[in-house]
Symmetry: C2
Subunit: 388 residues, 2 copies
C-alpha cells in the first residue's frame, strides 16, 4: 500500500518525486566504478551544502543518530573529557552517546527552549581542558536555533574540538562549517535535504582528522569507524561494509536539488515560510515555546492552546487531511506541537493548508480564537514579504 | 544516470522491480500508524524467513555489519569471554567487533575455505566458560557453508549463547533459528532477500533477551541498543531514531516475494542453479577453493584459472556484459573469484549468460579449455535436474 501524507513534523519531510525516482533505479554494486563516481559527486555536493572544504566529507550508512555516534566515537577515547551542552533531547542524547563511548562527560543544561549564552560556555570550560565540546545547532525537540560562531571561538581558544549537530538545520538555514570552525559536524538526510531517512552526512576538519590519526585505541564501533570508512570513500576504495546503494542515489539527487535552488535562496525560502506561519499563529493567539528571536525556521515548536487535546488534534490532522505534525518530546511531551517546514515541504501552500486545517480542529475542540484570522494574517505577511 | 547490471557478485544481488517500486513510494512518518503496521508485517515475515518465533525480530537500520555489531554489543559486557570461530573475513570481523565491545576474545582459526568440525569447537570450549560463541553460517569470503546444528548443541551444553551470521545464507539455503537454537542471528537485506542494502534483519531468542534484560551496563552503542530499539518495534512505539522508511517498504516487499515463492522452493532453486553452474565449471576445469561438499549454493568461490588476469576478466565482464562478479578477499585476494547466485539473480539464464561470457573472456586471455563445454555441461545438468 502507498500513503500520501503532508509531512509537517520534525522529519522525515516530503520527498521530491525526482528523489523517489532516483531511489528506485536498479541497484548496482558498492565497488562498481559507476557507484564510486556517485560517492565522489555526493562528497562534492555535501562540501557545498556544509560550506566545508574538508576532504573527509561523506554519508554514514545510518540515520542522524548514527552520525552523532560517529562523530563522538571517532574523536573520543576512554577517559577523554568532553563537555556537552544540553537544552533539549538531542543534547541529552549526545551526552548519553559520549558516556557510552567512555568519555568523562560534563554537562551544562539550561531550560529547554532557550539557547546558550556564550558566557555560559566560557564559564564551563574555564577550569577544565575538554578535548571535545558538543552542542546542537537546531534543537528539534524545542525549536531553538543556537548561535554557533562565538561559542566555537571560545572552544578553540581553549584548545578543544567542536562537534555540532546540524541534523535539522543543514539545507534549511545558514550552516558554515569552515567559517565557524566546526571540527565534526553531522546531519540527517530526511530533514531539510528532503531525502528519505537512512543516511547521515558527516564532515571532519583537518584538526579532527589529525586526532583520528593519532588515536591510541581502536574506535569502539566497527561499523562507524572512520579510519576504515575513509579508505572506502577515499581513492583506495577498500571494501568496508556494503553501502546502501539506492539511498545514496537518492541523497545525490536531493543534493542536486539543493544546489539547483542555491543554498542562500533555500535558506530564504525556509525563513519566509516560517515568518508567514508565525504571523498566522500570532493572529490566533498561539505562542512558541522557544526563546523569542531564536525560533528555528524549519521547526516551529508551539504551546498547545488551552482546551485542545494533543492526541485528538494530531489524529484529526492525519486522518482528515493527511497532515503529520510532531508531538512534544521530553519536557514538552503533551504540551507542545512541533510543526516542521523542511526542505520540499516548506511551501506557502503547506503553511496555508496547515493553518486552515488547524483552525478546523481547534474550532471543533471548542478552542476560542478569531476564526479565519490565521489565514488572513498569513496571506498578509506573504504579500508583505513579496513586496520586499 | 541509471545503470543496468547483472549482479553476480557477493551482494548486492539483483532487485525485483516490485521491490524497487515499493522503495519509491512516498515517504511517511516513522510514528505514522500506517508505518507501524509495516513494521509489524516485517516482523511477521522475518519470523517466517528466519524460522523463529522470537518476539525480538526486527530490522536494524544499517547494513549486515551493523547487524553483527548489534548482536555482539547487546550480549557482551566489558570483560565477558567470547569465542569466535574464524574461517574467513567475516569471522575475523566478528572477532574485531567483539574486541572493540570489550569482550575477552578467544579465536580459533582454520584454513580459509574449510568448515569447522564440531570437535574443534568442543575442544575449544572444554576448559573455558564462554558467555558467547560466534560463528559464520555462510562465509561470503570463501564460499563455505558451515553446518550449525551440532555446534549449537555443544555450545548450549556448555551454557553459552550462540551468535550466527546468516548474512549470505538467509533466504537462499536452510536457516532454522528455532530448531538450531540460535540465540542471536543477523542477516543483510541485499543478498538472498534481494532487497537493496541498508537494513539488517536480526532475531534474538528468549535466552538472549534475558541476558539483555540482566545487563549491568549500558549497551556501548546508542544507535544499536536493543533495549531501546525494542520499545520502538514493540507496542510502546517509543521514538528511538528515525527509521529508514523507504528501505523498510522495500524490505517488506522483498519478504513478501520470499513468502510467495515459499522458503523450501527458494532454497531448492538456489541449490539447482548452483549445481548447474558447478557442472559448467567442472567441464572447463575450473575448481572451487571451498572444501568439497560444503560449497554454498549462493556464493561460488572458484580459483582463477592459470593464465587469466583477475582484474582484466572482471573488467571485461562488467564493461562488455554488465556482469558484476566479486574478486577474492583476504587470503584469496588475486587468486579467487566469487560468483553469487543470490535471490532474484539465481536463475538458469544468469548461469548460462555468465558461463558463456566467462568462456569468451578466458579464451581472449589465451586460457586453454574445451570451448563450449561449460554450456553443454550446464544444459545437460539442468535437463537432468528437471527430470527428477
Amino acid at each position: 500500500m502507498s500513503y500520501k501524507r503532508v509531512l509537517l513534523g520534525p522529519g522525515p519531510s516530503d520527498v521530491d518525486p525526482r528523489v523517489l525516482e532516483a531511489l528506485s533505479r536498479p541497484t548496482i554494486g558498492h565497488l562498481d566504478p559507476a557507484f564510486m563516481e556517485i560517492l565522489n559527486d555526493i562528497r562534492g555536493l555535501l562540501q557545498y551544502t556544509f560550506r566545508a572544504r574538508n576532504e573527509m566529507t561523506l554519508a554514514i550508512s545510518g540515520t542522524g543518530s548514527a552520525g552523532m555516534e560517529t562523530c563522538v566515537v571517532n574523536l573520543i577515547e576512554s577517559g577523554d573529557p568532553m563537555l556537552v551542552c544540553i537544552n533539549g533531547v538531542f543534547g541529552k542524547r549526545m551526552a548519553d552517546v559520549a558516556e557510552r563511548a567512555g568519555a568523562k562527560v560534563t554537562t551544562i543544561e539550561i531550560e529547554w527552549g532557550k539557547v546558550f549564552d556564550p558566557d555560559q560556555i566560557r564559564q564551563a570550560i574555564k577550569n577544565v581542558k575538554f578535548k571535545v565540546v558538543g552542542i546542537v545547532h537546531a534543537e528539534t525537540s524545542t525549536g531553538a536555533g543556537q548561535p554557533i560562531e562565538e561559542i566555537s571561538r571560545i572552544v578553540h581558544e581553549h584548545g578543544g574540538l567542536f562537534i555540532v549537530d546540524t541534523v535539522t538545520s543543514l539545507g534549511g538555514m545558514k550552516v558554515e562549517v569552515d567559517k565557524w570552525q566546526i571540527d565534526a559536524c553531522y546531519s540527517g538526510s530526511q530533514k531539510c535535504l528532503s531525502c528519505p531517512p537512512g543516511l547521515s552526512p558527516v564532515t571532519f576538519s583537518e584538526a579532527a582528522v589529525k586526532i583520528l590519526d593519532q588515536r591510541r585505541s581502536k574506535v569502539q564501533s566497527w561499523y562507524l569507524d572512520l579510519t576504515m570508512i575513509r579508505q572506502y570513500w577515499g581513492s583506495e576504495r577498500l571494501y568496508h561494509h556494503t553501502a546502501p546503494i539506492n539511498m545514496n542515489y537518492a541523497l545525490l539527487e536531493a543534493l542536486k536539488i539543493v544546489k539547483e535552488e542555491g543554498l542562500e535562496k533555500r535558506w530564504a525560502r525556509h525563513l519566509a515560510n516560517h515568518q508567514i506561519l508565525k504571523a498566522g499563529f500570532a493572529a490566533i493567539g498561539i505562542k512558541y515555546v522557544t526563546q523569542a528571536g531564536y525560533e528555528l525556521p524549519m521547526l516551529n515548536a508551539i504551546a498547545i492552546p488551552p482546551g485542545a487535546d494533543d492526541l485528538a488534534v494530531r489524529k484529526q490532522l492525519l486522518n482528515e487531511f493527511g497532515i503529520e505534525i510532531g508531538g512534544g518530546l521530553g519536557v514538552f511531551k503533551g504540551n507542545a506541537w512541533r510543526i516542521g517546514l523542511m526542505g520540499a515541504a516548506s511551501t506557502r501552500s503547506n503553511v496555508l493548508l496547515f493553518l486552515a486545517a488547524l483552525e478546523k480542529c481547534l474550532a471543533e475542540q471548542g478552542v476560542k480564537f478569531d476564526r479565519g484570522a490565521s489565514i488572513a494574517a498569513a496571506n498578509n505577511k506573504a504579500s508583505q514579504l513579496r513586496e520586499n
